[in-house]
Symmetry: D2
Subunit: 319 residues, 4 copies
């Protein structure tokens, strides 16, 4: 390999920059040139590439978002688009590509792999819903961001004796909602992986009130329903008045936590090593504390399971 | 004075606990007994009082919310309610009251003052919209909370080349929105004190895009309109697609900033001194860096003006 | 089991309170009574016990330090002391004990186990140097605290073109130093597990300067040598002027990170379950992402190895 | 004015970058060119200047340290150096200079003013010890940084029942120590402006212990004596065992607080306006909540007084 490229794609996640830095420095360490593709696959199609040097990736490890930016690309979803992308890669003499992103980004990468181009993925999403890796880049930071927000809301909830519903990200996965519920000592959690049992939730609220608990927090993953919808149902079913907070985009931003900065550094380096050693169609994965390379296809072929131990914990510890 | 009471009322604000601690310790320092009234005027009517001691207010200076809790009281708005409150104060041998809260709480306090009971206020609201004092307790903390959130959103905005609308608290006042716009380098700010000039906003967005600015942040005080409404108008008027974030209740919570912890400590002590020296119907005020006691009535008789220097700054510095 | 006790011992670590809460609530969930022993083994000898209830452990999950406090106990190191402790446990009708602490605390626990008393440990130390568990409670929080500090120091280092030595905790283990070096993008790291190679360090500094790097950060684990000592050697050997910062006790405090709050909740629950199921002489362990119970003796019989992959990363990524 | 320059000098302080951005954008807003001088007066002598544009100062408002860097300059202290500096300013067609720094930097600026060059200062130091302005840039951020550190240390202090001495910056001024003592609820504070009364301090410690207070925090400004020295005296005089923490350089770094970001923005704009309007030998000052221009010479001719109200508060509130 003489020259590789790195791009970030899909929704941005904290520590994407740390991953880009790690890929770039690991490459330079081996005397491989690196270019950054701006705005994901769309930028690749447009040939929007910039050289990455030792110093141009200096100081980015702590920055939120992605300096390479990211974008959706309709064109890249069509076969012509993919072929054009391959031509661009060829035109710029690029021998391998590291894609930092989520499952949608990996499906795109797979198209390139299928056509013979070497691609290694680095899983990055605050949802942590990529099978094959125990953790994705950005999840730990988002978890801490949400925890801080929930702690602030608890101040108000307990001062006003109120019931609060906090809607967090997670369209199809409840990892963020579940871990933050445990970490914050929330009373209830609703995740897409489990059916909503409103009568039971109302029973618990009733029981809590009866024994003097004057405030409660419900953590709700957006994939279950909207917060205002749940508030309506709680009012209709049990007469419970609640306040809602939709955390929104603050969950994606911020300087990476220590865990994420380390994870992104390890994954970026592992991805580069994989490329150099001839791997393709794989992603860097954190499994049982160590780095491995696993098939990209796990991202869309397998469904990552919630840890039921944590579901039980919320139940048990919020008595 | 042998025994005084302190209560928190209205919306909770960071550093209310620091104020309660300061009132209590300042009283105890002068050998005056202190009781805390729980849940504001409602608790007063119910006689829900607890003794405050040196140690019971230890360790609360950094806690968000209010350990005394707060509540709305319909009863206290009626003349009978006020008379009952006076009877409770008498029943518990209370010679003076410190009310920590906003303008609604001060109007309530004024009713007691009118009937001859000694009350001193401590202005606390994250809106900073109380005339007579340059700063209210909680404003600086909320400002920092919002700034942190805006910084996170900027990460995403710049990664995705997006226009973001961030809705912050402020029904009738734009202090929070304005200061956070300056502090975060936001491109635009909309406050209730100024008419919305949508064509001009669209012009500025147009000009910014033209010279290559790919992302922008608009800080919107909730009193102007809802964020989704503004998003709709931007789309209709100028074809601008935007994302919205409504910060909500996280703005009220959190451990106080250093400024707020100091301000609350100073105000609590000043209020107690005022009471002891026979003042009533006044509030502790931060004016030009110093502590003063000013009439409570300023809170509803005067309107605090926005600093136009800051409005100009947003314009000038976001070029 | 009808009644169990929990104590915290040794140096305090973030999330100890979250562990205590989890032990207590898990017990109450199973209708087992819980008492908290104050000031570790010393408090046990003195019979300084307090009942823990659902609500008395409410709101402590986010608090730094330990509400049960901790202390050294000379008495407990002697056989008589251990027998007295057993008598106290008997006197208070305690059937099992959870010890939250580090290896010293576990050795103490082992003495009780040897004499037939049921004890389960929860490993808590910011050093993460307990074999048998991948992570100890408090490590992740301390890592983030140190990372924040290093980021602040880098601001000054780069503004003044300076070389900084940052001394972090770790008498016998370099886990904290190593992970923070990776997470912060520090240029060098010195850990007790590796010999100091001063000429090589000077070579790297020399080379960095030559290619224009005007500032550098060295992370030093306290167990290697004191920061001022290293500064002296760098000056003598290579003529390098440096500034030093000794982070000290701030590393132990603070509200737990999300990871630590979850880990402590899981470990506390696992320890209680272990006790109930008749286990003794074991500790809750985080292994490969899951909860296990492993022999307490691993804490002093095995040495936990540094991850050499991370040592290589510091080298590779700080080019 | 057609072209102005801005430099940062002396010790770095948070929000220096926000000030540089504000100076630059305010100038560009008026169609004035701006250059940044790197490494303070030393860089000026070397002609190390870079153009500042709308976009080159974009995104720096939140960054700690100073992107222009700072350095000491021995040469600039001599008359020849000052003349050379004037020649450089002439050579680069610079009509006016904004100096962001502390009193030492302002004395240097004064030499240029004396020789007829237009200079306006922006007071920036975490010590807040510049007379003529109620607040300097960086103070509020440092205060919050120190407060966070003290809160962490209190966790450990209360867990271990210990007496802690926390040494903070402040060679000749106790502003930082005093405000943090109030904000953190510290039990004692020692500042350079007041003589140390060790017997009285020991009395207070004695009394505190007697009434059950098991831990205490002493905030010590470095200008009084070193922390280990005070620890020694406390041991010798009263037999008090203490732990020490020297906060060091972390106090200078970090992203600016909201207050500092606003203050720096206002001061930078005011300084530029002053220059344009023909002012020289003045600095932007925050007085009673508003912006003014005051003589630079106040910085070294007057001594800013500590607020004795705050000294009393520490006494009164730490009972």
């Amino acid at each position: 390999m003489k020259r590789i490229a790195v791009l970030t794609s899909g929704g941005d996640a904290p520590a994407m920059n740390a991953a880009v830095r790690s890929v770039a420095r690991s490459a330079i360490f081996r005397d491989i040139e690196v270019v950054g593709v701006r705005r994901g696959y769309e930028g690749l199609l447009e040939g929007d590439l910039i050289p990455l040097t030792k110093s141009s990736v200096g100081g980015i490890i702590h920055r939120g978002g992605t300096i390479l930016r990211t974008a959706r690309s309709e064109r890249f979803r069509r076969p012509e688009g993919i072929n054009e992308a391959l031509q661009q890669l060829k035109r710029f003499d690029i021998d391998g590509l590291v894609v930092v992103g989520g499952d949608g980004s990996f499906r795109g990468a797979w198209e390139l792999v299928q056509r013979g181009f070497a691609v290694v993925g680095v899983p990055a999403t605050i949802d942590n819903d990529i099978a094959g890796t125990d953790m994705t880049i950005g999840f730990d930071t988002a978890l801490n961001t949400v925890l801080e927000a929930v702690k602030k809301i608890r101040d108000t909830a307990s001062s006003h004796d109120r019931l609060f519903i906090i809607e967090v990200m997670g369209r199809e996965a409840g990892f963020l909602a579940l871990e933050v519920a445990v970490a914050s000592g929330a009373e209830y959690v609703l995740v897409p992986e489990r059916p909503v049992d409103l009568p039971r939730l109302c029973d618990k609220l009733h029981y809590a009130r009866k024994r003097g608990k004057t405030h409660s927090l419900i953590v709700l993953a957006e994939g279950v329903m909207a917060a205002h919808e749940l508030a309506g149902q709680l009012l209709d079913t049990g007469g419970y008045d609640s306040r809602i907070t939709v955390l929104g985009h603050i969950q994606r931003g911020g300087s990476p936590s220590a865990f994420d900065a380390v994870l992104a550094s390890r994954m970026g380096a592992a991805a580069l090593t994989g490329l150099v050693e001839g791997q393709t169609g794989v992603m860097a994965a954190y499994r049982r504390g160590g780095m491995e390379l696993v098939p990209l296809s796990l991202a869309w072929e397998q469904k990552k399971e919630l840890n039921t131990e944590l579901l039980d914990l919320v139940e048990k510890l919020s008595i």
